[in-house]
């Protein structure tokens, strides 16, 4: 493609693309901007810069309880989803068993189906099993739904792995157990960290499944959800801004790791 045509075509495309970016970033800019606005979440232009809402936020016990709950649920979900996801990925990569195709699809269902279906199914299961709704049910729900993410990421990692290393380890007299800990697992280090970060972020943000499994103690998104019903204050903007910043940091770490593991594979 020569320079003149690409330049010509880009001239009408460029303003359009700028407009699309503006649309994508508008809510984020508004959200962050109004978290510093003394006069509340509406109106234009925002006047009177203040840190008052952040001050209010840091003194808000209920929010920090919810943050703590979310952190505990997310950490548990990472542990559960990574353990089962690793085993599932190993099974899909190396074992043959009846119903393998079905299993592969079933694991991915929570990723494909609307959250409400997975959430309600798990609610029915909790009622069926006689388990009271609490953070434990939320943790089991998140952990189970996110096995899909762990399996996908780790299966991709296994496919790229050089099996000759494992063969060599076994030939040289290591037990399968030693081979797993000393060869397989270290080879999967980057995908494991990447999947862990992704699962952590997704669990921290999750609301569609949580909605149906929550007991008395709130996770952070459910706490915010509850407050939205009472009216909107810039305190919600402030907490959302903080969530945004933390998500972006975690995701850029995840992205770097992913890029590095791709480069290592090539």
């Amino acid at each position: 493609m020569n320079a003149t045509t690409s330049a010509r075509r880009a001239t009408w495309l460029t303003p359009y693309v700028i407009a699309v970016f503006a649309f994508i970033y508008l809510p984020i800019v508004v959200l962050v901007g109004y978290s510093f606005n003394r006069d509340g979440v509406g109106g234009f232009p925002p006047r009177h810069f203040t840190l008052h809402w952040y001050g209010l936020l840091f003194a808000d016990g209920a929010i920090w309880d919810a943050v703590l709950n979310s952190l505990v649920v997310a950490a548990g979900s990472v542990a559960l989803a990574l353990t089962l996801g690793l085993l599932a990925a190993l099974a899909l990569d190396r074992a043959d068993f009846p119903g393998k195709a079905l299993f592969r699809r079933l694991v991915l269902l929570p990723l494909i189906l609307p959250g409400i279906i997975t959430g309600l199914s798990l609610l029915m299961f909790a009622v069926f099993a006689g388990a009271p709704l609490s953070l434990v049910t939320v943790f089991l729900g998140h952990g189970t739904a996110l096995i899909s993410v762990a399996t996908t990421e780790l299966f991709a990692g296994l496919q790229k792995m050089d099996r000759a290393q494992e063969e060599a380890s076994l030939d040289l007299g290591a037990t399968p157990w030693q081979t797993f800990w000393r060869v397989t697992l270290p080879n999967l280090k980057l995908p494991l960290i990447a999947a862990g970060l992704l699962i952590f972020t997704l669990s921290m943000d999750e609301i569609a499944v949580t909605f149906f499994l929550i007991g008395r103690d709130n996770t952070l998104p459910m706490e915010i959800w509850g407050r939205l019903r009472q009216g909107m204050t810039p305190e919600i903007n402030a907490v959302s801004t903080l969530i945004f910043v933390v998500s972006v940091v975690l995701i850029s770490v995840w992205y770097r790791l992913r890029m590095r593991s791709l480069r290592n594979a090539n």
């Binding site: 690409s6 809510p27 099974a91 079933l106 609307p114 189970t144 943000d205 609301i207 972006v248």
Partner: protein
């Protein structure tokens, strides 16, 4: 090279877990849809009444049709925003490619709830947009129809799914061998002919995948209508939610949920088939 013990050790725990915590719950949903509620209790009596109700009570069909319309609008809008974006980043961004790609991806990781809330503060009658319109002397009274309407739901979901649609389209565009474009041009095709007959068909699998994402994810959404939709923006998943909540008719709710599930899975397998066909060409 892996022993039998190794294979069963890695397969059994996830099989059992997924069987108990996923297969069983989904099966419970299916089973409930064939039961009924009598005097406020769920009775385990097999019947097709819930499914009959779905097709005879017009209110469900109406909401389902509205949901389809909203999902289709979201799909169309996300494609109209996402495709040119992917096209630009893939073909014209030059050295800024990596940074532009990142800029599209970042909002994907902003909490869904946070973005919904942001739109609420923008569209409300005391919101930022109304404030701006008054400030600029375009309107004098607040414009009320922005929030709590199907329009607001389409806007919010389009905002959320545009990056989702961008990803597979971008991947498809990136995999087009660039010499093909030169060949097309050397053989005398105009830029728009090259686009329509080379680029567009080759990016079709990505476009289909993106469109399916947007449609399927919008179809089952119940939070956007609650946040910004109002009564006129109620969608099918809200019906499920209220049947499981206040209305306490789990069997009927399960039947509606199965309906969403069947539509979702049908669409996904349809796309899979279509994608295969397009990739062959």
């Amino acid at each position: 090279m892996y022993s039998r013990a190794y294979k069963s050790l890695v397969s059994l725990p996830p099989l059992l877990w997924v069987g108990i915590f996923l297969l069983l719950p989904y099966a419970l949903m299916l089973v409930h849809s064939f039961w009924l509620v009598r005097d406020g209790f769920i009775v385990h009596q097999w019947n097709l009444g819930n499914y009959a109700a779905l097709f005879t009570r017009t209110v469900y069909l109406q909401v389902l049709l509205r949901t389809m319309r909203i999902a289709a609008s979201v799909t169309l809008c996300s494609l109209l925003l996402g495709y040119p974006l992917a096209y630009y980043v893939s073909f014209y961004s030059g050295v800024r490619k990596e940074i532009l790609y990142q800029l599209v991806i970042v909002p994907l990781w902003v909490s869904y709830l946070v973005r919904g809330y942001a739109w609420k503060t923008i569209l409300g009658s005391d919101g930022v947009l109304n404030g701006f319109l008054r400030y600029a002397h375009i309107t004098h009274a607040p414009v009320g129809f922005l929030l709590y309407s199907p329009f607001a739901v389409v806007l919010m979901l389009t905002h959320i799914y545009t990056p989702f649609v961008f990803l597979p389209i971008y991947a498809a565009l990136e995999s087009i061998p660039r010499p093909l474009l030169e060949a097309s041009q050397d053989l005398g095709a105009t830029p728009s002919q090259t686009f329509l007959r080379v680029v567009l068909p080759l990016s079709m699998p990505g476009l289909l995948a993106g469109a399916t994402f947007a449609f399927v994810l919008s179809l089952g959404d119940f939070l956007a209508p609650l946040l910004v939709g109002g009564p006129s923006g109620t969608m099918i998943a809200n019906v499920v939610q209220s049947l499981f909540g206040a209305a306490y008719d789990w069997p009927l709710g399960a039947a509606v949920a199965m309906c969403i599930l069947v539509i979702t899975l049908t669409l996904l397998s349809l796309t899979e088939t279509l994608e295969k066909r397009w990739s062959f060409k």
